[in-house]
Amino acid sequence: MDFFYVLMPIAGVSIFWPGLIILGVGVGIIGGFFGMGGAWMVTPGLNILGFPMAFAIGTDIAHMAGKSLISTMRHGKFGNVDYKLGVIMIVGTVLGFEVGAQMVMWLERIGQVEKYVRLLYLVLLSLIAWMVFADVAKKKRKDREAVAAGKEVDKLSTGIEWHKTLHKIKIPPMVTFKEAQLTCSAWLPIFISFATGWMAGILGIGGGLIRMPALIYFIGCPTHVAVGTDLFEVMISGLYGTATYTYKGRTELVAALIMLVGAAMGAQVGTVATKYIKGYGIRIAFGLAVIGCGVSVLLKLMAKWFPAWEGLLDGSATVLILGLVAAMSLYIGIRMVIGAKAEVAAKKAQISVAK
């Protein structure tokens, strides 16, 4: 059994390495598919594997940087990354993070930080889930109305179109984003990234969970471009995170590399799966993931309110998150295999017809 354990050189603990690879695969699939880092999934997983918390964050960020690079490369080849938009958004994200971090310090001084952060997280996740499913319902209604009126259903139709109102604000300079297929004031992505960065700074998360829907609903990116561009942002923040956490001595590179082996495979599956799933399919799956994440945060909050049930509620939150990661990964993996098989079969059929 010793074969399955590897001694971490810095942390000095033995870790079950297949567990790190499985965790990496799951987070890689979900990260590549939804365009997020996935720290909210990795931390409970590392905890279960017995990883010391002092190293968990730095190790998670280090593997995230490598994984996001792989996903960004792949999404870039599909034309899903708007680098210009990504670079502009970094400005707002950085400034927003600073303001958010300062607010957390202020909340810490008045001793309310954990309560407010968890509550804000819960409100935010509820809003995102509502936004996604309201959008899906509106699109379905539009499609039904088109069918009832005897018109052809518009394949490019969308539900919520708040971005169209925001695009009417024409404060110079106006910028055209080729991959995202939109023209808007440069201040719009700067402001949106500031707001999402601010929230991420307060919540202590990477921000992919908030930035991806913001790119769709407020900036007007197609779903696939939102996923790819968000991964580009995650990659840059991940590299930063790796540098600073490692400088503080909080990164276990061996664990990060083992996770990266799994995440590299997972990221490919997740990213290629976006090729076979329509934008609204990604949105619905994302909405379900957000609901799962929200329920787990609620369970964590309840564990604080009912100390007698703390163990059970905390354990349930962890099981829920890991169960969600497993179920989503399986679904995305199956869709990727089905799509890839169909593509290869179609190519073979084309070749045989040509002959």
Binding site: P9, I10, G12, A39, T43, I57, D60, A62, M64, G66, L69, I70, R74, K77, G79, N80, V87, I88, I90, V91, T93, V94, F97, E98, A101, K155, L156, P173, G201, G204, I216, T223, H224, I236, S237, L239, Y240, G241, T242, A243, T244, T246, Y247, K248, G249, R250, T251, L253, A256, L260, A264, Q268, V272, K278, G279, Y280, A340, E343, V344, K347
Partner: protein
């Protein structure tokens, strides 16, 4: 437009240099606790690695931030080769809808 781009790029580089901790993912700041790796348990590259950690976090960081993207890049290229061999088109995606 070019001037504007130059300004934006300058601002991004400046922000990147001056505010490195603001774009970090996940969680609380690391505590000021000093952790020392136990080099006695290791030989070979692992001993070198733990010694590097104990002697200079700066060089340890440099090596780490080089290794992570390089390994990511290698995995990415290998996966490209494998997927092209399987017959998947990695350069385009037919679905263009939102």
């Amino acid at each position: 437009m070019r001037k504007w781009w130059a300004k934006i790029t300058g601002l991004v580089i400046m922000a990147s240099l001056l505010l490195p901790e603001m774009v970090l993912a996940a969680g609380p700041k690391a505590s000021p606790l000093v952790i020392v790796a136990d080099t006695r348990k290791f030989t070979g590259w692992e001993a070198w690695w733990t010694n590097l950690y104990n002697e200079s976090h700066f060089y340890f960081t440099l090596v780490t931030i080089v290794i992570i993207p390089v390994v990511g890049l290698i995995f990415g290229v290998v996966a490209d080769i494998v997927m092209t061999w399987i017959g998947l088109d990695l350069k385009s995606r037919e679905l263009a809808e939102h």
